[in-house]
């Protein structure tokens, strides 16, 4: 009995796992598909899946269909590194798309660089990421740019002089964004009256908000993800804080208004794109994403979508999947019509694109202004 079931399971697995000879072009994706940050990894993966599906419907690239290999890393840097090793060495991917969090991108980037496989990060905003080597790219803003955009917007457009910060000490994105925001805002002549911290996963922010309230700032800058911001906004209003909240692209999700409700009304955040943008890239992306997954895309899905499309476009232009040629082709990306804006890859291998500032009105995010890099 024991022997039988053992042999059976061995057979089942062996037959299912045979490495097929691949006449497809394989693209790798690594992300946190389980664990505390799963929602970000899954969004990104869905964006990538959508892009690949669209391309496959249109005949694939270089005459071949495209296949996505996605590995989970549970949000652990060492697993991120392992999964990229596996993607490159076992699955022979032509390029790697990934990670949302800069920490995991930083852990995995040296591997991609070592084997000269291009890696495009959809949304790692720390400037260090692309400095890991000339095969590492990104299609999102970097922290300094976004921090500056919001600081200038607060100071110049809203004419606010006294700000407070509430940031996530566990998130590199949040810490970095806040640092650059403070730098620009203070250089412009504004003052930061309070700098409070929380940890992602927290649900009670009343203590920090009560302290902030007593310093009476004119706005609160909350760089963080929609997962926390909704609750922060609610508790801010309940604590009697009436000033507007501001944030970055991590806010962009349906969940923000779903969880935050009326509390996020009148808040501002910077983003890659606005749903009001009439460009067909944006409108098609939103429509297709909604049909495929049944929800509105968030910023991470949009970035994943664009990362995949920048890559596929580059493969097509290079007419090759060879590492060096592909790298050069990605680096030459210029005025690419992405869903998240018109992307040009600069010498630092970062994307330069304009940012938009959005205002939360009811359930919608209304366009306020656009800022060129």
């Amino acid at each position: 009995m024991i022997m039988k079931s053992f042999l059976l399971s061995v057979l089942v697995i062996l037959s299912a796992c045979q490495n097929k000879a691949n006449d497809k072009i394989v693209i790798g994706n690594f992300g946190s598909l389980t664990g505390a940050e799963a929602t970000f990894g899954i969004s990104t993966k869905q964006g990538i899946e959508l892009a690949i599906e669209e391309w496959n419907k249109a005949g694939g690239v270089l005459g071949k269909q495209i296949e996505l290999k996605a590995y989970d890393n549970q949000g652990k840097p060492e697993e991120a590194r392992l999964s990229v090793e596996k993607l490159i060495n076992v699955d022979n991917v032509v390029a790697v798309l990934g990670e949302v969090a800069s920490t995991r991108s930083l852990a995995a980037a040296p591997v991609a660089q070592q084997y000269k496989v291009p890696m495009i990060s959809p949304s790692s905003t720390n400037p260090l990421v692309t400095q890991k080597g000339d095969y590492i790219f990104r299609v999102c803003f970097i922290d300094p740019f976004q921090g500056e955009v919001m600081a200038k917007f607060a100071f110049n457009s809203l004419k606010l002089k006294k700000g407070a910060i509430l940031r996530d000490s566990k998130s590199d994105y949040s810490m970095g964004l806040a640092n650059y925001f403070i730098k620009t805002f203070e250089a412009l002549g504004g003052t930061i009256v309070a700098d409070e911290k929380f940890v992602s996963g927290d649900v009670d922010f009343k203590a920090q908000l009560t302290s902030i309230k007593n310093k009476s700032p004119e706005f609160i800058f909350v760089p963080g993800y929609y997962t926390e911001v909704g609750l922060i906004a609610r508790q801010a209003r309940e604590a009697g804080v009436k000033v507007p909240l501001m944030g970055g692209d991590g806010w962009d999700s349906d969940k923000l208004t779903e969880i935050g409700g009326a509390a996020v009304e009148g808040s501002y955040f910077s983003n890659h794109y606005t749903v009001e943008d009439p460009r067909p890239e944006v409108q098609n992306f939103i429509a297709n994403y909604k049909t495929k997954f049944g929800t509105m895309p968030d910023a991470l899905a949009a970035s994943g979508y664009d990362a995949a499309r920048v890559l596929l476009e580059a493969i097509k232009r290079a007419n090759s999947i060879e590492g060096q040629k592909l790298r050069d082709s990605i680096a030459a990306t210029k005025d690419f019509q992405g869903a998240t804006g018109i992307i040009t890859i600069n010498e630092q291998r970062d994307a330069t694109k304009s940012a938009v500032v959005l205002k939360v009105v009811g359930k919608a995010f209304k366009f306020v202004e656009s800022v060129k890099p």
């Binding site: 389980t34 505390a36 009343k206 609750l231 604590a239 969940k255 779903e258």
Partner: protein, 300 residues
């Protein structure tokens, strides 16, 4: 002064959330001497059952006390069933095994519920609708009291009283305490150990379910990993008060909630999470066994 009062109110509210989770923790520990790491995750399952109950059974219900009670009952029954399944399939086969095995099993079950939860419920956070009529009361001087905070605070004390009554005043409680003293002896004198433990789990899990719903009311964002942090904090609270001690759990939780809020409000929010552990370490080093705990030293 006003700020201090506001911090105190917030701290008490936070503490009573911890208390709700800590009660179940401490009760299961009291009987089985088992750190039920899955407790925080049963708590999570409870809030999701509440959410799905609202969504599918009473989608158009107005927030009212009646709605809240219905959701509470649904979540309590649902979590109790989950608790029974876990007890029967994971813990019961290990009744005679060393305690560290049961601990590892508990961690395994906890991981199972978390990752399983991410598969079943989805990983993204979901909004927990209002089920209680809510009022923000300005009690003068810009101090705001939330009716939900009050409800949860009262609930935690009511549940504590009910549990104390159950443990110290009923026949069932007597059996529970006997088992907690010595499982073998209890068995010898004719107590149906499996039954009592099962009922303990049912009560503990139902408590977790109720706590899950109240948590959703207080912080209307729920996700499959929500049990992790409150679970850990509640456990610290239970140890702080002397694990196995019902009143101790609530007192420990309130102390924890208050000190976290004061530190975040007055000193620095950076080390807020470390604080819980610092308090725990200091209390245990000065008074091993917790604030209200017995001096008995146990071995794993």
């Amino acid at each position: 002064m006003n700020e201090f009062i506001q911090h105190t109110i917030n701290g008490l509210a936070l503490g009573s959330i911890y208390a709700l989770v800590a009660l179940g923790y401490t009760m299961v520990f009291g009987v089985l001497q088992l750190i039920n790491f899955a407790h925080g995750d049963i708590f999570m399952v409870g809030s999701f059952i509440g959410l799905y109950f609202i969504r599918f059974a009473i989608p158009n219900a107005e927030p009212s006390i009646f709605t809240a009670i219905m959701v509470l009952i649904a979540a309590m029954v649902g979590s109790a069933i989950v608790g029974v399944i876990i007890e029967k399939f994971a813990y019961r086969p290990l009744r005679k095994a060393p305690r560290i095995n049961i601990l590892i099993t508990a961690i395994g079950v906890s991981l199972l519920l978390e990752y399983g939860g991410q598969l079943v419920f989805g990983a993204s956070p979901q909004f927990f609708p209002d089920i209680l009529p809510r009022k923000l009361i300005d009690i003068g001087g810009d101090i705001i009291l939330d009716s939900n905070q009050l409800t949860i605070f009262v609930m935690s004390f009511v549940l504590m009283q009910i549990l104390s009554f159950l443990v110290f005043k009923t026949q069932f409680g007597r059996s529970m305490r006997a088992i907690s003293h010595s499982l073998e002896t209890a068995n010898l004198i004719g107590i149906n150990v499996n039954k009592v433990i099962l009922i303990t789990f049912i009560i503990g899990s139902a408590l977790a379910g109720a706590a899950g719903v109240l948590y959703g009311v207080a912080y209307p964002k729920i996700d499959p990993l929500l049990g992790l942090l409150p679970g850990l904090k509640a456990f610290i609270a239970a140890v702080l008060g002397g694990i196995g001690n019902i009143t101790g759990a609530v007192i420990g939780a309130i102390i924890l909630g208050l000190s976290e809020t004061y530190v975040a409000g007055y000193i620095s929010s950076t080390y807020r999470d470390a604080l819980a552990f610092v308090i725990l370490i200091i209390v245990l080093l000065v008074r091993p066994g917790g604030l209200l705990g017995s001096k008995k030293i146990e071995k794993v």
